[in-house]
Every structure is written in C-alpha cells, then in structure tokens.
C-alpha cells in the first residue's frame, strides 16, 4: 500500500531550482535510499517533505488512515503529528538538556494532559509522566543509550548523538522515518552497528524509512529501493543492482566510486 | 579570576566605601545635643535637578542655623537620595524614622511625596515639603477634598490651583488677554493642575483657551508644535511646566515669530530659564511666584548673597523654598524649645512664619496662605512684581 506519494514536486530559491519535478511513490515499510552528489537537492527534498519549506509547485500526499492527504506546505509540527519524523544532517539535539529529556520532548504529541493539569498537578499528570518516563527509557535501550540518560546531550560522542537523534525521532511514533546522513562521520565499526540498528528499528516499529547517505556500502546493503537526485532532478530509481549499473548515475558520479 | 577572589574584591570595595561614607557623615558639631533633620530628596533620576537645588537650600539653612548663636540646638542634616523612585522613597522614610529625625524636609516631587506621607505621619514625624504642589497633596485622600489632613505634614509652596487661577486673573485683568494658547507638560501633576485651574478661571472671566498642546518633560524639540501654533491666532501663550523645557519653548517660540506675551508658573523661576531661552527672548514674559528679587527684602537679599557665596550661583526658586521649609522646622524646634515631635508639630500649626518666599501661616490643609506675585521679565531680568488674588 502506498504511504507517501510525491508528484511533480518543485522548489525554487530565487533563480535556482533546488528540486525540479520530482516524483516518488513509497510503500509501507519500505527502506528507501536517497542519493546524489553534493548539492543535488536531497536535503531540500527532505525539508519539503517534512514541512520546513513550502513547495513552489507539486503535491505531497500522505496516507492517513487509508486516505491520501495532501501535506505540502503544512507546518513541520503538523506534518510530524501526521506521522513523519526526521533526523538532521547537522545534528540538532537539545544540547543543554539531558538525554532523557530530549526523548521526552519528542513524545509531546502523545501526552494526554493539558497545560492546567500540569500546573495544578492533577492525577493525569502523574499517570502520564510515569508512562512517558518508561517509554523514553525503553527507546533509549533500543539505541543503547539508557545508561547515559542523565548526561547532557552535548557531552555524548558523535556516534551516540546520531543514535539519540534517531531515538528522539522514534519517540514521535512515526509512520515514516527520515534519516539525513545517519552515518556521516562514523567509523566502519559504528556504521556496521548503525546498519543493524536501522534493521532492528524497521522490524520492531514497522516503520517506513527514507535515508540520505553518502556511504554507498551502507545504502547498497540495506536499501530496498534507491532514488538518485542530480541538480534537483530525479535521474534514476530502482533496486540497488539497477542503480549500480544505470548509465546516468555513473555519469553523475563520474570520478566517484560506486 | 575565580569567584573567591571576586568576592574578596567586592568585600574590599564595600569596606572602602563604608569608610568613605563614615567620613562624609561626620559633620562638624559643637554641642552634644544634635537635632537630626532628614533631607529626603531626588538626587538622581528624572527629578534630580529639583532635588539637588533643594538639598543646597536645606544645607545652607542648617549651616546658617548652626552659626546662629541665639539657637540652642545644633542641627545635623541626614541626606538620602530617593532616586526619584516612589518605592525607594518609602524605605528612606523608614530609615529616617529609625535614624530618629525630628522632621523631614522633602521630597521635591509629588509622587514620592505621596508615598512618604502616610509612613512619616504614622510615625508622628514632621514633614515640611518644599515643593509638593499638587492639589490636596496634604490630605489623606487627595481625591476627596473633605478627607482628613495629615496631622504632621506641611508644605511651604502654593497649591497648583491657586497660582494657576491667579495667572488667569492677571492675564485677563492686566494683560487684557482673551484668547490663550496653552502648551503644557503632561509629565507632572504640577503642570496638569496648573493647566486645569488656569483654564477654569480664564473661562470664568470670559476668556478662552484656543489651543491646548502638550509636551513631556525631557523633550527638547518643540518646533513641530510651535510651528503649528505660529499659524494660529492667540493673545498669550501659557506654559505650565518647569524651566528646563519652558526655557527652550520660549526660545523656539520667539524664533518662530510668536511674539505675544508668554505667561507661566513659578516653575519659570530659575537662572536656567534665562540661560536656555536667551535674555533677548525674555521680554513680555510673566510668571507667578511667591518670591521675587524685585525690591528684595533684607532677608531675601541676605539669603541670595549667602547662597551665591556658598555655591557660586544664584538660587533657584526650589532652593529658596527648601531654605524656607528647613528654616520653618528649625525655628519651630527653637520656639518649642524641645525636640518632642508632638510639641514641635503643634508649634508649626500655629506659627506665623516669615521666610524668603513670603510671610505666611498655614490654613486647615497645612498649605500656606501666601499672596501670589506676578513678575515681569525684561531682557531676562525681573523688572516689576505685582500682587494678584484670584476672584
């Protein structure tokens, strides 16, 4: 079943066409790779899908309870509430907060007590807070950060910060998880662990994953399908095997090894 | 630098300041029995100009009193700065009470005064205000003319309504004015009170306010309003406000060709007015006041000379009022022959005081019965003075 459909999506910045007529159709629980040379428009595409930018033209539709709903131009928080969650290329954790609080904040949309219940400490507050704490620790266990729950996010090593971002994104209960260069800056061992983690998450949470990545070994080993972007255009899509041998992809990556 | 050193530094600084303060508080005293008088003024902040002038007036009065061999007590002024803040004015009043003062002179302006009176009055400490001119300021509830008067609070200045009305009387009777433009401050209740009283009396006498413009204290550019006033017709320009702004308004008005009589309140009475407006522009300018250097009495002349010698400049009205307020308290203490506050208070209430700003007694609201003088300026110099009573 289709969960996300992108048709003729375009975004201009002044004279620059960062994303040009991109079409995508993604099924539930797929693991999609999005690749392309630097400046190809991958992150811009993510930003369009998650509501950070408004599309200049074109449509983004999300399957919400069996209905396709247009989400292009919605605010990021509204998009997140519909089940899209993301990580950031240049890590955007809440640096001065604890690891646990980072996850708790992301659980916001699922907390069922209001501002007044919080201020006056009504019973709902205590019940919900207990639940939130338990779930947050569970998520941290999955990314193996539960032993560091009270540390400041900024004090974690790089690899762990990336994992925390994934846990934080999962805390919003997403249907689709967007990972923007999750392996950037990791050594091969860490990348291997990350690959396993992504698989684990996909199985455990039944979530669709779309990731941008430059590490081709990672992309080729875990992605079921790959889209290739160059100069804002989608120049190829298909299975890793198909992409490896696609002439236009080779052209775009001329000089780069695939 | 780590925090330990920082606190050392702070402590050191604080200690040295304490030492400094200790020195400055040490006035020269001759006899054992020192009578403390609180000097509670706006020394910093918006109203600092008036507060400092009054502080000098008070200090001079205390100095002269201590030189007076007929006086049985030695006086000591305890100064505080209320920073033109009402909130600070309250704590300072309490400090003065715990310092054991017999009476307090100040504050200069109405708002800190209103915050101080209930506290000092409750502690049965006498207040003599030099310049709290607001209508009914000495009453417990100023909005209710029938409310009780603060038993221990007096003032030596006019009430706003009185001199505002007097100016209207003078304008109509003597200057023959019918149409008046008013350009007044909205920042002080002083100016607003004057404006209301002036307008009421003027209309009662058949005159008319044809334009009513306002400025705020601290403004310096009046050209926009004066430009539009210059294109209207009126017989006189009334400026209820203080000299700092009035001086500039007169200067700018004359330059813009407004050459009708300019009239104002005792807030005009300072050398600064002449400096700001320029002597050439100060012709056909009249203001109400309680004291004048025209045919100055011996007493007044002595004050002016003493002040000029002490501070190197001529006294402003504020200094004169504070001088009177301080002398009033001192004379009452001498006359009562005691520092018992209740006795001194009774003495003041029934006293006939003769000061540099006029001879007066207090009415039932503890406001002086003084006659209003209207002074004319010619080339910035006080030329004539006539007495006016509003009808």
């Amino acid at each position: 079943m289709t969960i996300l459909k992108v048709s003729d999506l375009t975004r201009n910045f002044g004279g620059l066409c960062a994303v040009n007529n991109v079409n995508m159709e993604i099924d539930e629980q797929e693991l999609i790779g999005l690749i392309g040379p630097n400046g190809a428009g991958k992150t811009t595409l993510f930003n369009l899908l998650t509501g950070v930018y408004e599309p200049s033209s074109g449509k983004i539709e999300l399957n919400v309870d069996g209905q396709m709903k247009s989400i292009g131009g919605m605010k990021p928080y509204a998009v997140t509430r519909l089940g899209l969650a993301r990580t950031f290329q240049n890590i955007r954790l809440f640096k001065d907060l604890s690891v646990l609080d980072n996850v708790k904040i992301a659980m916001h949309k699922n907390i069922k007590y209001g501002v007044l219940a919080g201020i006056f400490r009504l019973p709902a507050f205590y019940a919900e807070e207990e639940k939130v704490e338990k779930e947050a620790i569970n998520l941290l266990k999955i990314v193996r950060l539960d032993h560091k729950k009270d540390e400041f996010a900024k004090n974690l090593p790089y690899g762990e910060q990336r994992r925390l971002e994934i846990a934080r994104a999962l805390a919003t209960h997403p249907k689709i998880l967007f990972l923007d260069e999750p392996a950037a800056g990791m050594n091969p061992q860490e990348t291997g662990e990350l690959t396993a983690l992504i698989h684990e998450i996909k199985e455990k949470f039944k979530v669709t994953i779309i990731l941008i990545e430059h590490d081709m070994s990672l992309v080729m080993s875990i992605c079921e399908r790959i889209y290739v972007l160059d100069y804002g255009k989608c120049i190829a899509s298909g299975s890793p095997e198909q992409i490896k041998n696609h002439p236009r992809v080779i052209e775009a990556y001329l000089g780069e090894e695939i | 630098m780590d925090s330990k050193n920082f606190f050392k530094l702070l402590t050191a600084g604080a200690l040295s300041l304490t030492a400094l303060a200790g020195c400055s508080n040490d006035g020269g005293g001759t006899t054992d029995e020192k009578v403390s008088i609180g000097l509670h003024y706006e020394l910093k902040g918006d109203a600092a100009d008036y507060g400092n002038a009054e502080l000098r007036g008070s200090q001079l009065a205390i100095k002269l009193a201590n030189e007076n061999e007929d006086y049985q007590f030695t006086y000591e002024g305890i100064e505080y700065d209320n920073g033109s803040s009402e909130n600070e004015a309250i704590t300072i009043s309490q400090r003065l009470i715990s310092d054991g003062v017999v009476g307090v002179i100040g504050p200069s302006t109405s708002a800190p005064s209103a915050a101080t009176y209930p506290i000092l009055n409750d502690a049965q400490t006498i207040v003599v205000s030099p310049s709290a001119t607001a209508n009914n300021q000495t009453l417990v509830d100023p909005d209710d003319p029938n409310s009780d008067v603060y038993e221990y609070v007096y003032r030596v200045c006019f009430e706003d309504s009185y001199q505002g009305a007097a100016m209207a009387q003078f304008a109509v009777d003597t200057l023959g004015v019918q149409k008046v433009a008013v350009y007044g401050s909205v920042s002080s209740d002083y100016a607003k009170g004057l404006n209301t009283a002036f307008t009421e009396q003027l209309e009662k006498l058949g005159g008319q306010v044809v334009a009513n413009e306002s400025y705020q204290d601290g403004d310096t550019d009046f050209s926009a309003v004066l430009t539009s006033l210059a294109s209207q017709e009126f017989d006189a320009l009334y400026i209820p406000g203080y000299y700092n702004e009035a001086g500039l308004i007169i200067q700018q008005a004359r330059e813009l060709g407004i050459d009708c009589p300019i009239i104002g309140p005792d807030g005009f009475d300072a050398n600064t007015l002449v400096e700001l407006a320029g002597a050439d522009n100060l012709n056909d300018v009249y203001f109400t006041t309680a004291y004048t250097t025209v045919d100055a009495s011996e007493k007044l002349q002595a004050f002016i000379d003493a002040y000029t010698e002490e501070y190197g400049e001529a006294p402003a009205m504020f200094a004169a009022l504070a001088f009177d307020a301080t002398n009033l308290l001192i004379e009452a203490i001498e006359k009562a022959g005691t520092t018992d506050k209740a006795t001194v208070n009774e003495t003041i209430a029934n006293m006939e005081f003769s000061g540099v700003t006029g001879d007066f007694t207090f009415d039932e609201t503890h406001t002086p019965n003084k006659s209003v003088l209207v002074v004319e300026l010619v080339d910035g110099v006080q030329e004539t003075a006539v007495s006016v009573t509003p009808e």
């Binding site: - | 600092a48 310096t220 550019d221 309003v225």
Partner: protein, 292 residues
C-alpha cells in the same frame, strides 16, 4: 501645505541626530551583535565634551565637534575594552546587562561630576534665518543636516572602500573566519566602537547647538529611538540606519505638528511593529532563513 513642509524640515533636523546615533548602534550591532545600551550616554557625553571645549577652550563649531568626536572615540574604545571584551564569548544577554550597567554608571557619574541641572549650551553659530518659498530654515539646521550627510558619506567610504572597512565587514560576517584570514579582530572591533562613538559625539554637539540645552539624562530616550531607527531600517545595515533615523524624525515632527504630540512615541512604536510584522528583518534587511 507650507506648514507640512515646515514640519518636514523640523523632522529632518531631528532625524539627522537620530540617524547619527543609529549609525553607531548599527555598526556595533553588526559587528558583535550587542545592543549597546550605553551608546545613548556616549552621545550625552559628546554633548558635554563639546560644552566643555567651547566654554573653557573657547573654540568654534568645527574644533568643538572634532574634539568631542575624538574624546568619544577614546571613551568608546575604553568601554569596549573594559566592559565588553571580557564578555565576547558569553551570552548576548549578559553583554546587554553589562551595557546597561555601563549606561547607569555613565549617567550617574555625569550627574555626580557635572551636576544634575540642565546646562545651556553656548551658541557658537549665528542663528541666521533663511526664508525660502515661505519656509523657515535656520543656519543651525543647515549645519546639522550638512554635517550629518558629510559624516555619513565619509563613513560609507570607510566601510566600502578602505582596508579597515573590508576588515569590519569580514568580522561582521564571520569573526572566526576573519581571524583565520589574518585580520586582527580585536583591533577591528575597537575601531568600530571608535567610529560609532565618534558619530554619537558629533550628534551630541549638534544637538547641543540646535536645542541649546544639555543634561546628564538626555541620552536615554534618543538612545532608544536611535535603536528603533536602526531596527526599523534593518539592524546592521548602514543606509538602513540613516533611513530609519530620518523616518522617525520626520514621523515625530508630523505627528506632533498635527496635534498628536502626546502620542508621537506611540505612533513611532506602532509603525515599527507594523514594519517588523510585515518585514521581520527591517525595511532594508534581508530575511535570512536558518539553514536546516
């Protein structure tokens, strides 16, 4: 209509002064992102320096303005070195509080040294009046306007065409990168403070001559107004500050001229808010969206 144009002239004179102060605000803000609350007090001290120079050294208009600018420049650099430099890596709000502390200190210090009373500024210009097409223009107004324009042109030249100007722009864009390129960042910041303070000093002397009245608290309100002018035009942008200054001056004159003198500040604030809501980076500012 004549009255309207007359108000325009009044507004231009007032606006020139706001613009000169706003330039200093905007330069300092552009380079270290500090709202220098003490800037209005430098302007006040500029007026006092001019006052002292004219009274005690008996100099004329131009020497007075140059002396005042030089002293203010030195003062600006000293303040920067003592109070702001240690906070360069602290939060901006901490630096702001420091600036407020400096402002209190300068105001209270001046009240202590020079007395609290208003001083009449000695008149060093003849106040000749020119009548042109029914409009009244005084010699002082011409001096103010011309001085302002000349100073702005010099400033624009320094920033755009000289080496130090290039360094200033580089530091303002990215101080770390500028340091790596061999620019002496500390010196550049000091020079920015010097120039900004000198302009405020000039404004102080001009205002003294124009209104002939100075006092220790005269910097508070124009300081805020000038900051508004800078924000209005787009803070950090030199032509924006000039434009904002003139606009606010004219706006105030026209509002007061047509009977709204009590609401003139309110009108300025309302226009400011409307502009910011429509164009959050100020009139000439560019909206920069944070990169995600």
């Amino acid at each position: 209509m004549t009255v309207f144009f007359q108000q325009l002239i009044n507004g231009l004179s007032l606006g020139s002064i706001y613009a000169l102060i706003a330039l200093g605000y905007t330069m300092v803000y552009g380079i270290i992102k500090l709202i220098n609350f003490a800037h209005g007090d430098i302007y006040m001290l500029g007026a006092y320096f001019g006052f002292l120079a004219i009274t005690y050294l008996h100099v004329g208009f131009f020497p007075a303005i140059l002396i005042s600018m030089a002293l203010c420049a030195i003062l600006g650099v000293v303040i920067e070195r003592i109070a702001y430099k240690p906070l360069r890596n602290a939060t901006r709000i901490a630096a702001l509080i420091t600036a407020i502390g400096v402002s209190y200190f300068l105001e209270a210090g001046t009240q202590q040294v020079m007395g609290t009373s208003v001083r009449a500024f000695p008149q060093v210009l003849n106040n000749q009046v020119f009548n042109i097409a029914g409009l009244r223009i005084t010699e002082q107004q011409i001096y103010i306007f011309v001085t302002t324009i000349v100073l702005m042109l010099i400033l624009q030249f320094i920033v755009k065409k000289t080496k130090i100007g290039r360094a200033m722009r580089a530091v303002s864009t990215d101080s770390d990168a500028a340091r790596l390129m061999g620019i002496n960042v500390d010196a550049t910041i000091s020079i920015t403070f010097a120039i900004g303070s000198a302009l405020a000093g000039a404004a102080g002397v001009l205002v003294g001559i124009y209104y002939s009245s100075i006092n220790p608290l005269m910097g508070m309100l124009p300081g805020i107004k000038a900051f508004i002018a800078a924000v209005f035009g787009g803070i950090g942008i030199i032509p924006g500050a000039m434009f904002g200054g003139f606009f606010i001056g004219i706006c105030e004159a026209i509002v007061s001229g047509y009977g709204g003198s009590l609401f003139k500040d309110a009108v300025v604030y309302i226009i400011l808010i409307v502009i910011l809501v429509i164009k959050p980076a100020g009139l000439l500012g560019k909206n920069v969206k944070e990169k995600v």
